[in-house]
Structures are given as C-alpha cells and as structure tokens.
Symmetry: C2
Subunit: 463 residues, 2 copies
C-alpha cells in the first residue's frame, strides 16, 4: 500500500478530482484487453500537462513507486497492467489535437487523443493516419506509438514507426525531453524517437506526438473472395503481391468467425466459406479500377471459388464491419481466449496454416485464426477456461507450439501486440540474449530505479 502522503502529494500535483483511489476505480484499472492478467494499482492519476507528468514521475522516482502509463487500456499483451501496483498514470485527459498542418502533412497530438477521433478530424481535411489497430475506436495515440501499432492498412502503408516524426517524452526523473522534429528527414544523432516507439511505455511517458500524415486516397474499392482451403487462400495472396499490385488491406476471416457473426448479427456472409479474404484497393479512381480487376483475376486464377468486388458502398461497409466484429466474435466464444499475433514471412503462410491444423489435431484444441494475411500476421486463438488449471496449462503449451512453428519458418513472436507480460517467457527463444541485455542496458540508462512500467517485456531475474 502506498503511503497516504504520496497520495496527497499526487492530489497537489494534478488536483483532487484527477486522483482515484476508490475500490471500484482501482479494480477498473487492474486489467487491460489481455485475458490472463489482473493486478490493481494503489492509485490512478490523470495528468493534464507534461509538467504534471514530470511532477508525478519526480515524486515516484524519489519514492521508488512504480508508474504504469496507460491510455485506453486496449493493450492485448498486458502492457498497461500495473503488475507491480503503485501508480497508474492515465493520459486520457490529455486528448487535444494540437495542430493539423496540411502543407507539412503532419499533426501534433497529445497522447490521450483517441485514434478514431484523430482520423475523423483528419478526414475533414482530406488527410489520413494509416495505422489502424482493431482497437481504433478506443485506443489512444500514446498507446499507438508505444506499441508501434499496426492493423490492416499496414500491408500497403507500414506500421506506426513509419509515421513518427517527433516526440516529447517525460523521463523517469521528470526531465521533459523533445526528440525528433517536424521534418520527414532528420539526421540529428541516433533515432531516439524510434527507441520510444514500440518501447511499450517502459522508457518514459510520451507527452506529445508529431506524426507524418498522408493525403486520403481519393477512391477505394472492397473485394471479397471465398476459398475452400486456408493454405490456398494465403498462397493467392503471395501471387497478388508478387504481381506488383499492393492492395491497401488483405484480411483473412475463417469459417468460425463467419458463422459466429451470422449467429449474432446476420449480415448475409457466405456461411459455407471455409475462408473469406477481404481486400481493398485504394488510390486514384482509375488506378483503383485497374488494381481491382488485376486482384480479382489473380484471386480467381489462384483458387478462389468466388471473387468479386463489393456491390456498393453499403456492402463494402458490411464486409469491413464483419471483419471488425471478428475479434468480438472470437473473444465472446469462451471464458478465456488465448489470442496471439505471430507474423510469418508471407510466402511461408501456407506452410504455417497447415502446421496450425496439425497442432490443433494433436492438442485437441480448436485453433481459430483471423488476421492481416497481407502482412503474414495472423491471430491464432485457443478457447479455454483459466479456471480449469489443467486445461489452461495445456492451452498455454499449445500456444507455445504455435510460437515455435512461427519462428521455425522465420516468423516472429508478435506482429502487433508487443511482448508485455504475456510473451515474456518466450522472449529468450525469439531474441539473441545479447539483444535482451542491450534492451536492459538502455532501460537502465533511462530509468535507473526501474519505476516506469516495471516488470514488462523481459522476465525479471528470479532471486
């Protein structure tokens, strides 16, 4: 338990109304989007300025109190769970879009800006920030940067790190540091912005973000394709990409999700489809027409039973709504859903999905998967119940086999979600131990007392 004095000092910094210590409040901030981990903080604070973040960190650093930065808590690897208790520093009240500059194609935002709010505002200016994690309705820009978020658009537009130009970061001792800048080219020293991007909030608290934007593509076209085999579907994707056309989205939905969606919110999806690929082309209207034709031809040539463009905007919207509903459909399917996000080289996807079938058969667990097939990034899920210890342990072991299978074909432990708490025990297998030591060394430079989001990414030495 935190000393009363520290709570009072926090109230002095951010004001009484921005400090929560009630039982329900602490419970509310004890979890994030991750299924398997829960831990209550001692206090939740809502700073509204970088200076307040600085004062909070100074206090926490002096008193050696853990601070877990948090936006909307949509993290799915446990990154925003205050596993060591202490302070949850919630940035949701720092939600101002400070600048949208069309000539410079950039925006400056506070960390608590919700991604969807940001994109709706940008759309009014004909602008667009591509990363689109499934949590876009709630997730905040601080989290988007800290997790180096991806999403469907990344197959064409890359991930968040490709858009970060500058950051203001508050360091563990309260120092407010500006790095990067406003220009797309900046060769002043090491790429420190890239170090904080994807650091899962372990190196400092991001208090301001400058991102590069793109003009909104003038036209888009949605396509769907039905396949009766998963490996054939993912091979078709390789053929599309090798042909020189880059769709803006290539998403994979399996039969489980199709049926589940149709049960809950019927949309008229093809119930019999083993696999549904959803694709989008974007660009100038004429380019989109040409790309759409090329993509549909390739889908048919490479094994699609059906491949067609959406009839109209309404059907296109329905397809993407179905895709978005996919995760909800999966997460509602069992008491505990172990959902992971391995990524494999695209040309190994077919081998990998065949291996998933083998693992499923051997383990007896049904393995559901959907995801960003265009990036080789799948989200395999196992349905289990954490209250059944024996089964849950077997489910975890089965997930470990999935990680192994991904890495065996040159893939990675996480395409989007980060390591957080959930994948720590696999990190040594996935990274050179020396690289882990380098990360620890960097953490030590920036946060010598280990107060910022402690206990994340790598396993702590057991003493």
């Amino acid at each position: 338990m935190l000393q009363k004095k520290i709570i009072n000092d926090l109230k002095k910094i951010v004001g009484k109304s921005n400090v929560l210590t009630g039982r329900e409040d602490l419970a509310s901030y004890s979890y994030d989007g991750t299924a398997t981990q829960v831990h209550e903080p001692d206090v939740v604070v809502f700073p509204t300025t970088a200076q307040e973040i600085s004062d909070i960190l100074k206090l926490a650093n002096d008193e050696r109190v853990p601070v877990t930065p948090r936006g909307a808590g949509t993290n799915v690897s446990g990154g925003s769970i205050p596993i060591k208790g202490g302070i949850v520093l919630c940035t949701t009240k720092m939600n101002k879009i400070l600048e949208i500059n069309k000539a410079n194609l950039l925006a400056i935002v506070e960390p608590g800006v919700v991604l969807q709010d940001f994109n709706l505002t940008l759309a009014q200016e004909g602008l667009f920030f591509p990363p689109d994690p499934q949590s876009f309705l709630g997730c905040t820009m601080g989290g988007v940067v800290s997790e180096n978020a991806g999403g469907p658009y990344c197959v064409k537009y890359g991930v968040t790190k490709q858009y970060v130009l500058g950051l203001e970061v508050v360091l563990a001792d309260g120092h407010i540091m500006k790095i990067g800048g406003l220009t797309p080219k900046n060769r002043t020293g090491y790429e420190l912005c890239m170090l904080f991007t994807g650091a899962e909030g372990t190196l400092g608290v991001i208090s301001k973000i400058t991102v590069r934007l793109l003009p909104m593509p003038p036209a888009t076209k949605t396509m769907m394709a039905v396949f009766d085999k998963a490996d054939v579907a993912v091979e078709a994707i390789s053929h599309i990409l090798a042909s020189g056309v880059v769709p803006s989205k290539i998403e994979f939905v399996d039969n489980f999700v199709i049926r589940r969606i149709e049960e809950t919110t019927p949309m008229g999806l093809p119930l019999e489809a083993k696999v549904l690929l959803l694709l989008q082309a974007d660009g100038s209207p004429t380019a989109v027409e040409a790309d759409t034709q090329q993509i549909l031809d390739l889908l048919k040539k490479h094994g699609a039973q059906e491949a067609r463009a959406a009839k109209d905007d309404a059907e296109a919207a329905m397809f993407w709504k179905a895709r978005s509903a996919g995760f909800a459909a999966v997460f509602g399917a069992a008491h505990t859903v172990l959902a992971e996000d391995v990524a494999v080289p695209r040309d190994k996807l077919s081998e990998f999905v065949r291996r998933l079938d083998e693992i499923s058969e051997k383990s007896g667990f049904f393995i559901q998967y959907l995801g960003h097939a265009g990036d080789g990034n799948l989200h395999p899920s196992i349905f289990t119940d954490i209250r059944n210890k024996e089964e849950f342990a077997r489910a975890e072991e089965t997930m470990a086999e999935i990680f192994e299978a991904a890495m065996k074909v040159g893939g990675v432990l996480s395409g989007e979600h980060g390591i957080g708490l959930e994948k720590q025990r696999f990190l040594k297998r996935a990274m050179d131990p020396r690289a882990i030591d380098i990360m620890k060394g960097i953490k030590k430079i920036l946060d010598p007392n280990n107060i910022i989001n402690p206990g994340k990414i790598w396993e702590e030495a057991t003493t």
Copy 2:
C-alpha cells in the same frame, strides 16, 4: 602507429591480399566525400564474412585500436574518416545480393552492395528500393543504412529507416547479433534495428541487411517549372502537397547550377530561370496523367512562369541528369565548398530562403542552394578556400548562421548527411543535452572501449 603484430594478426584473419598498408593506400582511405577533414588510418582491411568482421573487432577491442567502418566513402559529414587512425574496415568486398523475394517484397544484401547495382537488379524483377541519395552510383547499402539515407524519392516514399526489416550486426567485442527479421510487422522488444539505422557506424558493424521493397511504379512522368523567385517556387510546393497529390520527387535547382551545367555540359536548360523545379509523378498510367495535370495546374496557378511535362523520355532523362550534375557543378565551383543539408518544415521554406538571401548579403558570401524542396531539405553551399584561414573562418560562421536560421523556423541541422565530424559543434544547440547523454550511454553499452568509429557525432570532452 599500429604494432606490426596487429597488422600480422589482421593478415591472418582476412588474408594478406585484403590488408593495405602502403602509403598511397592509406592516403586513399584518409578522406571521404567531405571537403574539410582528412586523417590517415594505419591499415585498411577488407573482410569478406561476418566472422572475419567479428575477428577483426575482437582483436581491435582487445588491443584498443580504433576501427572505422567504411563502404564507398561517399559520406559528406566525415563519418567514414578514420579520425583516430587505426583500422579502416572496408566492406566493399562483401557485395553479394543474397536474396530477392518477390512474394515477401524484401531483399537480403551484404553491406558492400552498391545501391545502383542493387536497384538495377531489382528493376529486372519489377521491384524498387526507394532511398536514392545523390551518391547512388557508388554508395553501399551499409552506408545507406548507417546514414539512414534519403534522396529525392523520400518526399513520397520516406527515408531508409522506413525500409529496414532486419540487420545482422557485429558488436565491438565480436558478437554477431541478429535483430529484426523478415516480416513487415515485428513487435519483439525495442526497435533495435532502428538504433543501428542512422547510427553513423558508431554502434557496431552491419554485416547483413534485410530491406522491404516496393513494386516498381508502372508509370512515371517528369515535369519542370520555371520561377523568377525562390520563395514563390517553394510556396507553390506547399500548395501542391496541401492539395492531396504527392509527387514522387520535387527538386529545386537554382540559376547558379543551371548556368554551371550549361557551361560544362550544355543541355538546353532555361538559362534565364531563377529557379527550376523538377517534379515527378508515379503510379498507374492513368493516375500519373491525372496527377501530372493537377500538379501543372497548381504550379501555374501559384506563380510558375512556365510549367510543363517533359516532352519525352529523353527530355525527362536530361532533366534528371541535370539535377544529378548539380552537385558536381557546385563542388567544382571553388577550392573548398561548404555544403550543408538543413531541413525545415515545408511551410517555412519561403521564409527560410528569404533569410538565406539576407545572410548572403550580410556576409558577402554567395550562397548557392539546391535540394529536395519537397522535403524542406535544402543543401546550401558556400564557396571558399580552406587555405585562406580568415575567409574560411568567416565561411564557417556564415554556415553557423544558416543552421541557426533553419532551427529558428523549426528545422534541423541535418536532413540527410548526418552529424559525423562536420556538425558536432552544433549538436548541443540542436538536441536536448540529455538526449546527447542518452546517446553516449547507449554507445557505452555497445562499445565500452570506444573502438568503433570513435570521435563521431558528439564532441569529445576536452580534458
């Protein structure tokens, strides 16, 4: 002078023919593309494998011998000059393209692969690696990554860091470390690949590089526009970008360069043009037609005296040849050319070029500039003679004023060239001192004995 024993050990590692110690050899490796710095190494070695690099570094680390990694030596901030003597580790014999994978849109190369060779090979597959520094004919991929190289294409396609997926790096103690991977999405720990990208060869020696590729755009169109005022020309660029079209190149050439090119290799450039903008659109043929029309309309609307598409491929090639010849024209114009590469926010370019005129008038130095106007990245040059100490000192002070002017409008010290030796004394002004300390801390973790490219980026403490 290096002990004879160390030279002999190096010969054992890489073979006698891969060790140079002759007087002319050492002189040849005493400089790079930078005008103002020269320092001879004691020995030049050419490893052909990561293991040889490892053995060289182990030896150097044990004996505390400085090692300066070097590719083609086209660096223009002094990054590849062996300022502390010791070993130049030249990667030019590690020049194999190891893999080009069309379905995965990636390539794996050794560090000594020449950028132009790489792109010619990719072109045969309809693929394309966008970063295109002016040194493309000679520069090597190790240098491209280590300097996080830019170029004209970056206005649309971003800089090198947007393309690095994975690296093999040899650390100071000889450990060969693999980081990153093959997938466009990879959230395994901190972005260590991004730390070595742009580190100017100070953190390790890159021995293998995996980069993301793009399909080659099926069509391109070159445009030219003539302006009678520089500030009007750069304002037109802001209007183009704010309109939602993103040209693949927007280059700025001034009258000095036009005249100079016409003197040496007459091409029929408009001699009277105060400013020539060269632009390119790329994409599908129809999109390119539409973009070209929109760009030309905007150029005319916003002050161009003339704006037109290149008549044919030959004229387009001539324009880009002129642009490429620009640097040569500038560098041949005086005994010593101080050429810098500040970048400013695009909407501040007009203010900045007016300030350049004022600085020129006040200092008495003619300030020539050309560059990547689409990125706000200009290369202002001052013509002087390093042998005339008084004038050279004034030229350096004038360049310092240009840096100040860039930073005053939110710009940066270097858009492309890095800090190296040339801009060290300005670093404190351009970066938070705390950020410099963090860089030093990271350097200390990776290279505790300071043997890899010592003396670069930040000024050493004077004792």
